[in-house]
Amino acid sequence: MREQGPSFERRATGIEGLDRILDGGFLVSGVYIVQGPPGAGKTILANQTCFNHAAAGGRALYVTLLAESHSRMFAHLKRMAFFDESAIPDRVYYIGGYSALEAGGLEALVTLIRGAIQKHRATLLVVDGLISAQESSPTDREFKKFLHEIQTLGDLTGCTVLLLTNSQRAAEFFPEHTMVDGVLHLTDELSELRPLRHIRVLKLRGSAPVRGLHSMRITDQGLEVRPRIETRLSPGGVNEQPVAAGLKLPFGLADFDEMLRGGVRPGSVTMLLGSSGSGKTLLGMQFLSEGVRRGERVVYFGFYEQPEAILAKCQRVGIGGLKEGVERGIAQVVWHRPVEGVIDELGESLIETIRNTRPQRLFLDGIEGFERAADFPQRMSHVYSAIAQELERLGITTLYSTETRELFARTIEVPINGLSAATQNIVLLRHIEHRAAMLRVLAILKVRDDDYDARMRELRITNDGIRLLDTFAGESGVAAGGGGAVSDPHAKVPEAYPRAD
């Protein structure tokens, strides 16, 4: 005799990030409440799930109560990539249920839904506007009875049921929540001037959901859900194990490589810390350029300069090879606008890029770009930790630039976050006033477990690339911007190089 028990077979929504949060999707025969204020994305989520379900061979039935009219809904949906009009009416079927509800109450609505499920052999049911059914119910008990009947219908027909309803706050836990297999809460709120959408699983029976808030976006592709980037990676802090031994990765700048005793170690993370315009980006690009010259795969991931602009700038100052590297497919330049981004989207883009490309060298230009896209600043440490962990796991030698706020401050603040905890090396770049001239300077502040040259060097950007000069030999206090001669009052005036534009 075959025993029957609750089925834990799942039905994917086809919305990648949502399925990840839902531990693979909704349970077959499961009943779920999708709640949120008007405009939060409930209808899009439900319709997208219907069309994805139809594309996978299923049949969906969409019942509207006092919701927007079908023509209005289609007018909004037709601009979205998932909307496939040819699936209607054979695989996705829309009916209005409010007339039946008004005429015969919840009983008539259940009868109508049961008949439609059977007639259209639906395996996914959406009831849009559950609040109308609730308001038509004379008592709470009647409404619970209605939900029970819907649940039984789901069990009998193998139909997954989504009930869409308005609710302003996740904290509102209604009695009906106890009756269903899951509750998803959608929000659409402002963070300063930025609109941010989130989704949260309040309840999910028989599953291990990814809990907490996750970001959502509505684009012409439909609803995009991005689980918090830190939850995508294995738990735990940054592993502080020593980086791999072996041949170092040079920058291709003889003087600087000598200061680093050959370059940086494979798999290490190096911070380029400096003020705006101090040469961080070009030093990072020099690192990638040398990688390309050696036939390595390299990735630039930045926020402030578009790919064409940054490649042209490198060409202009004699840092060659990157454009050719892009053409040869071994160099990739990824650019994101920082302001309107969602941090999880940026994080996912980075992780996907490095997982797909498996570069030997990575340059993250302007790590603050992540912070500008953060929905909650308190998350940053976790986000950086997650990124650091992934970089370490993949053994990618990484440079990242971070900006000091002050151009001439006497003290230098090293940002402490999840990424700096994993940083083995720190290189300082900044401007100083020196003998009535503004100079760029470079110094290595830290190289973990290795020898290095701690001298401060002038960094010049010329038409032939980056040059390091011994301008400050014998001087002290240079890093603080107040350099003065201590041993050689007649320090040699540096050899002149043509400056780049």
Partner: protein, 126 residues
């Protein structure tokens, strides 16, 4: 005094059918409502209907099933049927069952114009 032409509106979407009923009454038609094809057939059996204005997707019996039943019935075979659809562009194989197809949302003028075209013969015989 000429008899008013009788229109049967078949639509499950709350609000739209009521709105159309009022508008058509103001234009001089006699109007009856049904929320699905099955109820529409019952109304057709009970009395004279000059034109059917039907939605496509409905519970119990949809617009195509209603039109097929009417085309197979000698009494209603010639009754004009206008299909109202919410779908933006798609054409259906069942479109041939209808005398005209209107895509929602449509203007009152377009509706009245389409109805007048379908009812031309009937109005002459009144």
């Amino acid at each position: 005094m000429p008899t008013k032409l009788s229109i049967l509106i078949v639509d499950d979407e709350f609000g739209l059918a009521d709105m159309l009923r009022e508008m058509l009454r103001e234009s001089g038609y006699e109007v009856t409502l049904a929320i699905n094809g099955k109820l529409a057939l019952e109304i057709l059996r009970e009395g004279r209907v000059d034109l059917v204005l039907t939605d496509m997707m409905m519970p119990v019996m949809d617009g195509a099933e209603l039109a097929t039943a009417m085309r197979n019935d000698d009494t209603h075979r010639a009754t004009p049927i206008i299909m109202m659809t919410s779908l933006p562009t798609a054409r259906s194989q069942t479109d041939r069952l209808f005398d005209a197809v209107l895509r929602k949302p449509f203007t009152p003028d377009l509706l009245l114009e389409t109805m007048a075209g379908c009812l031309a013969g009937r109005m002459e015989s009144q």
